[in-house]
Structures are given as structure tokens and as C-alpha cells.
Symmetry: C2
Subunit: 467 residues, 2 copies
Amino acid sequence: MKKIISVFLIFCFSSTLFISNAQENGMRNEDAWMIRKIFDKSLTEGQCYPWLHFLTKKIGNRISGSPQSYAAIEFSRQMMDTLGLDSVWLMPCIVPHWSRGNKSIAKIIDSRIGDIEMKCLALGGSVATPDEGILANVVEVKSLDEVEKLGKTNINGKIVFFNRPMDPTKINTFAAYGGAVDQRGSGASVAAKYGAVAVLVRSMTTRLDDIPHSGGVNYNDEAPKIAAIAISTNDAERLSALLKTEPTKVYVKTDCKWLKEKNSFNVIGEIKGKEFPNEVIVVGGHLDSWDVGEGAHDDGAGCMQSIDVLNIIKKLGYQPKRTIRCVLFMNEENGLRGGKAYGEYVKNGKEKHLAAIESDAGGFTPNGFECESISESFNQQLKQMQEWLPLLEPYGLSIKRGGSGADISPMRPSKVLLIGLRPDSQRYFDLHHTEIDTFEMVNKRELELGTASMTSLIYLLDKYGLK
Amino acid sequence: MKKIISVFLIFCFSSTLFISNAQENGMRNEDAWMIRKIFDKSLTEGQCYPWLHFLTKKIGNRISGSPQSYAAIEFSRQMMDTLGLDSVWLMPCIVPHWSRGNKSIAKIIDSRIGDIEMKCLALGGSVATPDEGILANVVEVKSLDEVEKLGKTNINGKIVFFNRPMDPTKINTFAAYGGAVDQRGSGASVAAKYGAVAVLVRSMTTRLDDIPHSGGVNYNDEAPKIAAIAISTNDAERLSALLKTEPTKVYVKTDCKWLKEKNSFNVIGEIKGKEFPNEVIVVGGHLDSWDVGEGAHDDGAGCMQSIDVLNIIKKLGYQPKRTIRCVLFMNEENGLRGGKAYGEYVKNGKEKHLAAIESDAGGFTPNGFECESISESFNQQLKQMQEWLPLLEPYGLSIKRGGSGADISPMRPSKVLLIGLRPDSQRYFDLHHTEIDTFEMVNKRELELGTASMTSLIYLLDKYGLK
């Protein structure tokens, strides 16, 4: 009898196992088929590339508060309106409005070799110098710590020149950027504390070239605000070489100003979920850019990919269970006001936000996703997503623990799963925040693969939900 | 007693295991450290980028037999001579010498809209048309099969226009190329068999643009040789649209000729192995290019990376056990004579060739390696290499079964392990065999990462040998 029961139990167990495996294989086949369709559609009927052409060539760069930023809002809304979404709307946010004014000047004043005009850009948010500019001796440092060590005696009345390069041996260039960008962000206030009159910052790139890189400076309240200017890496090398031989003076002039804050908007469009309309998956990028170049990779690419995700879902006639929402955030570059407004909305709203994906690392060949969350379930969620890897690896995609994106970070306290698209990073800092971040630097297929990668992950998140 | 023996055996077994694990971990740490050094050195002191600048800008494109091909041989030899290698020499091979002569013409003759000059390039190896050119009606086909089906009735006296696009949905663009390139390689002979007077071939790219792509046509002996011309994809689309409305005539003229064969060379340099000097690991690319653009990605990149592998090994002061040999092959594009000469050398020589790595898929971010061999031990060898993956994955590198490279393929019969470097493929066919395959299209870091990837794999192959 015991034996019979055992055999029976074994039979039950193995047949359940069999059914469950078969079901799972069936689901997997269906998923593989769907993801193949998503890639096919994105690579043949994706719209991100022509949309990006309009955004970059007809509108151009679009710092928060600028007329072009409103053109970008209206353009994105109109594009979403063509897709037959369930709703498209604007979410208000108040943004700062900074203007660099006339071209900044940074000039080496040297009686031996004559004056040398350096290729420069005021850092975003920099204050103006007095009208007559500033002429002062330069002191070169490699770190914020070095300023602290040099102290008032060596810093007072000087222009501090931050010249620690991005580490070229980091394989991921974002790590190299992270290791150098404190000079740009905090250098001015640290130097001003000891009486510096302005700062020059080596551009954030591993290249040696003549292209200055802008990007934000963050003043704190403990020190006077002094002008902050990025110089090209070639000029940084030259200035450093001169300083090795004898004291060198530099003349700087910036004309920047803060204008009145402006009413601006995040642009939002969505496909309503059929089963769980109140559960939301967000995909987005930021619509503003710095005021140089065309903001093509940063972050026109991510925005146009995000609208294209909805486009591809509609084109495939796929009806999601959950609400898929594209959010184009305003003001990532100098305030994060759009991201914060959306974060508040998530915190106060009655919807459940499952996950948010941001594409803000350039429109290059995607290598996968990084995820983060403060939810207790995060480890489980990550494990669940990594079980999808056999479906994503044929497209070169991985899923790892890591960072996500600035605009979606204000959703962190609401325990939303935050995901960053991770493209190949080698070329990003050649053009980040420069005149050459233009449409021509974006490859159509690489851009479209980003759309397809995000759409695929959203398909899986939508279908299976999160543990 | 039995129990004591058991305990003793367990002890022996586990302590051996322990020692072996510890040894293995030690080795792994040493390897990880070495590979880190290789990447650091390549990204800070690699020379492939400035060398490529010279090759592309001072020498330019370099079809076999051309004066520039001899400049490239001499330049590479001189660069190798600066590295303190154990020997540098030239291996003779006789190469064909084809010249396109005057610019080819492909013009739509249309009384409705006026004549339209198409952007075109004679295919490499094409014969000339008669001096007065050829004017004929065009018949569009999508495949070689379609020509066979249309037969003499529909083909005779016509210009056959091969217009099957590369499939944009293939994630790996080399697969898309492989799926379309039969039209370029075999189209002329298949069409001529049925009386075609010339062929037009849609350029091998997924892009829609005005840039024609050259590449080789292979005539067989069963049909007359007729002129073969690539037209840009935009022109292919336009011609196809015209053909849909009414019969269309095209005028073509080519001025190509085959010159006398020339004595040429593979350029070879090596670091002699200390323990097994008679065991050789080859790394290489091909020094010739088509006669348009600068042959930067195809394959200046692979050649300069291959010399740089020896440079990095020397700079690290690493003494290999086995001989590491850089071979820059001549005549990959239209004859493979250099590869065949080296293949003969391997077959007849007294050295044992362990493995050969080729970089001929562009100087883009490397994703890993593909391997092949007809050796009985290949499965074991692949398994052995895949055990090294934990050392390579931090650099984004995989090791898979697959293809390798054209130049090293003549070593296949000698059972050499053949390995191809596999970079990201998205941009390669934007520029392959065109005027825009120039230095500017190569990113310094991406190129250097290729050097580092190959050096790392060679380090492991050298240290551990192959099963």
C-alpha cells in the first residue's frame, strides 16, 4: 500500500512538474517570439531617428526656460498625439532659467609667448565675472583636498585650475566621469572658501582635443560664488606645462546670468493597462539639454526612444495589462525640477508605480540594464528579472544591480524599481555637454536597438508584474 | 581499520582539493592582475591610434599592388622595428593588381524626368565596358534564383539590377551582410549566363544614403565577364520606384583593368617564446584595402592593433613562453594571396601553430571572440578557453563558437585554433568599402580596447597552452 501511494505521489509530482515545465516553455516561446517582433518592428518602423532629427535640427539645444525648450515640449506632445495613445498631457513644474550671455573668455596672458585664447565654456550655473573680467595668477590642483591643504595663503586672490583628468583605464567611462566630476561640481565653492577669485576646470573627457565640455557647477552657501569655466583638455595640458616653468596669469570673463524662473512641463503620454490600469510602468529621458550643441545623445536620444517605445507597442497591437507611461522630464541638467515634480506625484498619487526605466546614457548600442530600489523585495525582483536573461541575452542585454537615472531617482523613496538603460559608454564623453553632441553623432541602428531593448523589458515587466 | 583508511583518504582528497583550489585562486589572481595591467597599458600607452593616423592620412587606401600598399608594408615594418622585437621580416607573395581607372558611370536615361546620374562604384575586379559604354533596359531582381527563373527570354540583352536589401532586423550586421552579399559576389556571372550585358548591385548596407559600397565580384568561367557596378541605396530605391511605373534604361561605363601581377609581402614581427619557441600564436589583420576611402576600419584598425599587441607585451616586460607573432596579411580584399602564402608556410613549416587571432571586423568596442577549428580537440579547447571567462567578462568579452577571419582561414587544414575578434557590429556596414571608411570614424578608446582584448587572450593562451 505504502508502495502504491509512493508511486502515485511520484506520478502526481512528476506530471505536475511536466505540465509546469511545458507551460513555462510555452510562455518562454511566446515571449521569445514577442521580443523578436519588438526588435523587428523597432529596426524597420521605429520613429526615434527621424524624430531626433527634428528635435536636434529644427529645434536644437534647449536649456530649461529657453524658447527651444517650449518648442521641444510642443513637438513631443504633437508626436505623442499622432500615436493614438489613451492620454497625452503636460505636468507643470517651475524651472530655473540660466543664460550664459556673451561668449566666455579664458586667456593665458604671457609676455614670453603672447596671449593664448583658450577654448572654454562657462560651466552651467556659473555667475558672471565683473564687467572688466578678472586677471590673476593661476594655481593648479588635482583635487578638492589639495585646495584644502594649500589653504588661504596659497589660494587667496588666485584662479584655481582643477586639472585631474578622467581616468582612461576605467572600462566604463561613467566610472571615470564619476571619479573626476567633483572638481566641476564642487571646485568653485571649495576654492572660494579660501579666497579664490575664479576657477578653471579641465573638461570632463578622456580625449585630448580642443572641445570644451560644459556641465553644472553647484555652489554652496558657505563661500562667495565665483565664476567657473571649463577649458579644453589640450588647453589644460598647455596651461599645466606653462605653470611648470613659471607663474602664469590668466584673464577670465563670463557674462552669465540667472533669469526669472519659468513655468515649464514634463510631457507625458500613456497606454492604459487593461487589467491593472492603476499599475504604472514609466519609461523616459530628459527633454532639456545644455545650451551648446544639439543635445542629441544627452538626452534627445533617450526621449525619442521613450516615445518610440509607445509607438512600437501600438504598432504591434499589443494591449498591455498595466499602464505604460512615457515621461519626458524637464530640467535634468540644472535643477531636476521635472523629476522632482513627478516624484511628488508618485508619492501623493493613488497609482502604484511598479518600475521606471530611464535612457540617459546616450543613444549607443545597448548592453543591458542596471537596477536599484529601496524596496524590501528588491533582491527577489532582481532575481526574477535575471530569470528573463535567456530571452534578452540574444540581443546582447544583461541585467545587473547598479544605478538608474537622475530623473527617476525622486521615485526612490516610493520604493519604485528604478532601471537605467546601459549602452556602450566608450564614445559618450567625447561629446557630452559640447558643441559636437549633434544628430550626426547618433547611429540609427544603435538608437533603435535602445528602443527595442526598453520595449522588451517593459513587455516582460508588464506581463509578469513584479514579486 | 576501514574507517581509518576512509578518514585518511578523505583527508588526502580534501587537502589536495584545498591546495589545488588555493593554487588555482592564486593563478587566477595573478591572471586578473596581468589582464588589468594589459588594459591599463593599452588605454594609456597604446600606439595603435597614432599609427592608424599615419597609415590612413599619410598613406591612405592601399589596394594590392598599388604604390600605397608598398608604403604600408614599409611603414608597418618600420613601426615593428621600433619595438625591439626578436625578428621582423617580409614574407613574399604574388598579388593581383586591379585598377578601377576613370570614375565609373551609371546613369538613368529617362525622357520624362531627365537623366539621373547615380552614385556608383565599379565592384572590385569588374571588367571594363566597351569604350562607348552600355545602354540597356533594366530588369530588377531580388535574388540569384530569380535570375534563373526569369531565364534568357527576360534577361538577354538587359542590365540586371540586384536589389535585395541587407536584412535590418539581424542584430549582428555581419549576418545581414552574409544574407545579401551573394548578389555582389555571384550576381554578374549568374546574370551573364542568361545574356545580361551588365549588373547593378544595391550597396551592401542597411542605411539609406548616397554612398556606394565597393567590394569584390567573383566571375566564374561558365559565363562571359560583364561589368558589375554598385549603386547607393538611395539610388537603388529610386531606380526600383521608376521600374515600377515603366521600362527604364540605364547607361553604364566602367574603365577597370587588370594590371600585371606584382611581388608583394606579408609583414611579420615576433617575440620569441622562452620555453617553447617553436610553438607560435599569431595575431593579425590585413594590410591591403579597397581603393576608396582610407581603409581605416577595414582593416587598418586590425593591423595597427596587432602590432600594438606586441608593443604592449614588450612595454609590460612580459616574456612569453611561446612565440607571439604579428602577421599583417597582404591581399585579403581580392585574392587572399598573403593568407594563402602564410597557410602554406604553416603547412610545410617545422613550427607548431597553436592559435591565430584575426581582427578584421572594425575597430569598434570589442564584445569578445569567436573560435573555430577542425582539430579533434576543438571542443576541449573551447571549454578550456571558456573557463577563462571570469577573467574576461569584466571587460565585456565573451568566447563563442563561430567564424574567425579570412586571412587566417588557410591555416584551417593545419588544425590551428582560429579566433576572430568580435567588435560591436552596428556601424561597420555604414562605411565598409566606401569613401567614408576614414580615420575620423575610428574611436581611440574602442580601438585600444581591441588591442587589450587580443593581448589578454594571447597572454592566457601563451601561459596555459591548449589541451
